[in-house]
């Protein structure tokens, strides 16, 4: 049955750490590489017993048929994924899913990436730059070692600011401090894209709301199928239920109910903890290797 194409499908072509627990993967997925636009995501299942996890596509190369994912090891699946390397195969990669980012000529845009959110913001920032916008990027991380894609972001930005919570690198503070400073300095800002942890996105929304600056966030609710079939990813936007997988993942930050999102994302916390404990007990090795024999 197997043809060369099938042997290649979902093979990891490249894998390297960008920061502790943050790993870049290039994965062979020609159909997805051809179609994908900035802001879209894939659902990945790492092996036959794996869960389906949504991961935003950071980049793609239609010529060699690969997509790039940047993964932060947080839960069992992402840690297990980050233990995989070149020539391992993922069981499933499906996409591109969700609506592409809205890319127009807005004028001056501020792109904010918090932690690994920078990886998700990067492709859209690049597209916004190509569309003729003046791009101001603010990337933030807890500490120096977690700052990722700084040089990539610098290349596509007119201005780049880096913040670290602990001040171990660049400016000490939060991304919102920098944003507020820009707004306070009277800089004309037409559009803000913020991607990162929920508290950060919520803070950005509150910072821009009084100034009426259009602000968009990319949401990361719990998903199963990613095609609108289960409704698990529904988020409250303007008091209405929307499915992040097909209506999003990007929404107007001023209309999102972040409180509901935070609570819903904690829904499986006990199960996640249990899975993590089991994974750490076994060192996660055997299971990871079984991915090779597809």
């Amino acid at each position: 049955m197997s043809t060369p194409i099938h042997d290649q499908r979902f093979r990891i072509a490249e894998a390297r750490f960008l920061a502790p627990d943050v790993k870049l993967f290039r994965i062979v997925a020609p159909r997805i590489a051809r179609k994908r636009k900035p802001g879209q995501f894939v659902i990945v299942r790492i092996n036959a017993r794996g869960e389906r996890v949504p991961l935003t596509i950071a980049d793609s190369d239609p010529r060699d048929g690969t997509i790039t994912l940047i993964v932060q090891g947080i839960g069992k699946t992402t840690k297990q994924l980050n233990a995989m390397g070149p020539d391992d195969h993922l069981a499933d990669v499906v996409g591109p899913l969700g609506k592409p980012s809205e890319v127009e000529r807005f004028g001056t845009v501020v792109v904010i990436g918090g932690g690994v959110g920078t990886a998700i913001a990067y492709p859209t920032a690049r597209a916004l730059k190509s569309a003729g916008n003046r791009v101001i990027s603010i990337i933030g991380a807890r500490t120096r070692g977690l700052v990722i894609l700084e040089s990539e972001m610098r290349t596509i930005s007119d201005e780049l600011y880096v913040t670290t919570d602990d001040g171990s690198y660049a400016e000490k503070g939060f991304v919102t401090d920098k944003l507020k400073a820009l707004i306070g300095a009277g800089r004309k800002i037409d559009y803000v894209l913020a991607i990162g942890p929920i508290p950060m996105m919520r803070a950005v929304a509150e910072a821009t709301r009084p100034h009426g600056i259009k602000t968009v966030v990319s949401l990361n609710p719990i998903m199963v199928d990613g095609t609108g079939m289960c409704g698990g990813c529904r988020v409250l936007v303007d008091g209405r239920s929307r499915f992040a997988c097909v209506d999003g993942p990007e929404f107007d930050a001023h209309r999102v109910d972040f409180d509901v999102l935070t609570k819903r994302n904690a829904m499986y916390r006990d199960a996640e903890r249990l899975a993590m404990e089991r994974f750490e007990k076994t060192g996660g090795r055997q299971e990871t290797r079984s991915c090779r024999t597809r």
Binding site: R31, I32, K35, R45, R49, G50, E51, R52, K76, T77, A91, D92, V93, V94, G95, P96, L97, V224, D225, T227, G228, M229, C230, G231, G232, R234, L236, S241, V246, D257, D259, V260, K263, R264, A266, M267, Y268, D270, A271, E272, L274, A275, R278
Partner: protein
């Protein structure tokens, strides 16, 4: 061997009972409830057939299975021939024998059903299909010489599979594209293991593979590739859209965003497709039902499947909330019976109006109102109307919404010249299932809205005939 009994003697034999797992035992496992007929039961049941000159059962079957002939073959002990006879019209007999609403179809039409009880056609169909599977001697029909024509089928549920089976027999090259990571559509993600073991679905899919059907998982048509790209860049000669009715309806009442409220699609997908009942052996979790109060809202097979799954996951109280009376329930009679035996508490003529949460955003109760039946609505069923002042609170940890689905718009929204009706379903000609777009056909729930496995299979067959005619003539 002709049936030795006179018609009168046949009517005296009672309908044979399906051996089942005991309710108390099966509440604790996901193994199949019905255990299947043995040879003796099958023979006894087959003896009951009156062999009508004009068998109503065949007309009652959406795919026209030759019931009278296959039942006679059972009487002769020719089980493989009987299975092959079913397979002539039904490519998934082990599945339809389990999940068809026989009481509304073949068995409902059986002449015995009026004065006695109908021949257990579904149980017999399952018997021969299982026999065939277990002997490993599946009588696959031969394929016609290759035509060189290629067909893409979008969706691997019952409509797609039955169409694929017919087209490959007619000599066409068939590729089935599936969005999820397993083949089978609703048979895999929707119907639970205890009603339809997934191994059976896998074997039926393997049979199709052996017949030459190719499958590709992880392809979301509309996103990964469009219908136009299939027809142009990928060079398919025809496309069948059989994407089903996969979009869940919610109630649109306050509190539906609370943790612990989910669609039946989500709950069942986690349990069935993702095997969450085996968490943490499998990674995908599901709401921990142990010692919790769980309710499902709805009265169809999906509602029964969901609430019976929660029982197996350890629910302390399992309620079925339905706004009409039991008589109007669309679920199969057997599912209702099984649910009751397993301790599901039926709250009919009841409707939730609001879900109430705690400070952490978790469901704590449903506010419900009692209903009474008014005049019939467009579905012919009596319309439920609220009883004033009847509201009450039902404490709950989880509620599963199973009030129907609609078509997934991903294909339609990316295929501009594909006409849809106002409910979002694809318009297709009744007789040929041709859509408004040349070379594109549509079948199953994406045309009709949520229906049954067998109706979708019947539509898949009808589409196969029309696709074959189109590919041979080139005439649209």
């Amino acid at each position: 061997m002709p049936n030795p009994l006179t018609p009168k003697e046949r009517t005296r034999i009672p309908r044979q009972k399906m051996p089942e797992q005991e309710p108390l035992e099966r509440r604790g496992n996901f193994a199949e409830v019905n255990l299947g007929f043995d040879f003796e039961l099958a023979k006894q049941e087959a003896m009951r057939c009156l062999e009508c000159a004009n068998p109503k059962c065949v007309a009652g079957c959406p795919v026209g299975v030759k019931v009278k002939e296959f039942v006679a073959l059972i009487l002769d002990g020719k089980y493989l021939e009987a299975a092959a006879k079913v397979r002539e019209d039904d490519v998934l007999p082990a599945i339809t024998g389990r999940v068809c609403p026989q009481e509304d179809q073949c068995e409902g039409a059986c002449v015995l059903s009026k004065k006695f009880s109908s021949v257990a056609i579904g149980y017999l169909e399952r018997f021969v299909a299982d026999y065939e599977r277990q002997t490993g001697q599946v009588g696959l029909p031969p394929n016609a010489p290759p035509t060189g024509k290629r067909v893409a089928i979008v969706g691997s549920g019952p409509a797609g599979l039955s169409c694929a089976g017919d087209l490959v027999q007619q000599g066409h090259q068939v590729t089935v594209l599936e969005a999820l990571h397993e083949i089978g559509g609703v048979l895999i993600y929707g119907i639970p293991e205890f009603r339809l073991p997934k191994e059976i679905v896998r074997q039926e899919v393997d049979n199709l593979r052996r017949m030459g059907v190719e499958f590709e998982t992880d392809v979301v048509v509309g996103q990964t590739v469009t219908v136009d790209e299939l027809l142009n860049e990928e060079g398919y000669d025809a496309v069948l859209i059989a994407t089903g009715a996969g979009l869940p309806h919610f109630l649109n009442i306050p509190g539906e965003h609370l943790c612990g409220v989910c669609s039946a699609n989500e709950f069942l997908t986690r349990v069935n497709l993702m095997k969450a009942y085996q968490f943490p052996e499998y990674d995908e979790p599901v709401f921990d039902c142990r010692d919790k109060d769980v309710a499902v809202v709805g009265g169809g097979n999906t509602a029964m499947d969901a609430i019976r799954s929660s029982v197996r996951l350890g629910a302390r109280n399992a309620y079925l909330i339905y706004r009409r009376s039991e008589k109007e329930m669309p679920a199969r009679i057997e599912e209702v019976k099984h649910a009751k035996e397993e301790g599901v508490q039926f709250m009919t003529l009841t409707n939730p109006v609001e879900f109430l949460g705690d400070e952490k955003g978790w469901l704590r109760a449903a506010r419900c109102q009692k209903m009474e039946l008014g005049l019939p609505d467009e579905s012919g069923r009596r319309r439920p109307v609220p009883v004033p002042g009847s509201e009450f609170e039902l404490p709950l940890h989880m509620v599963i919404i199973a009030v129907g689905t609609s078509g997934n718009p991903l294909v339609q929204s990316t295929t501009p010249d594909l006409r849809t009706n106002k409910r979002g379903y694809i318009e297709a000609a009744d007789d040929t299932l041709k859509t408004s777009k040349r070379g594109v056909f549509a079948a199953g729930d994406i045309v009709t809205g949520g229906a049954t496995v067998i109706l979708a299979m019947g539509a898949g067959r009808k589409a196969a005939r029309a696709i074959d005619a189109y590919l041979r003539s080139g005439q649209w």
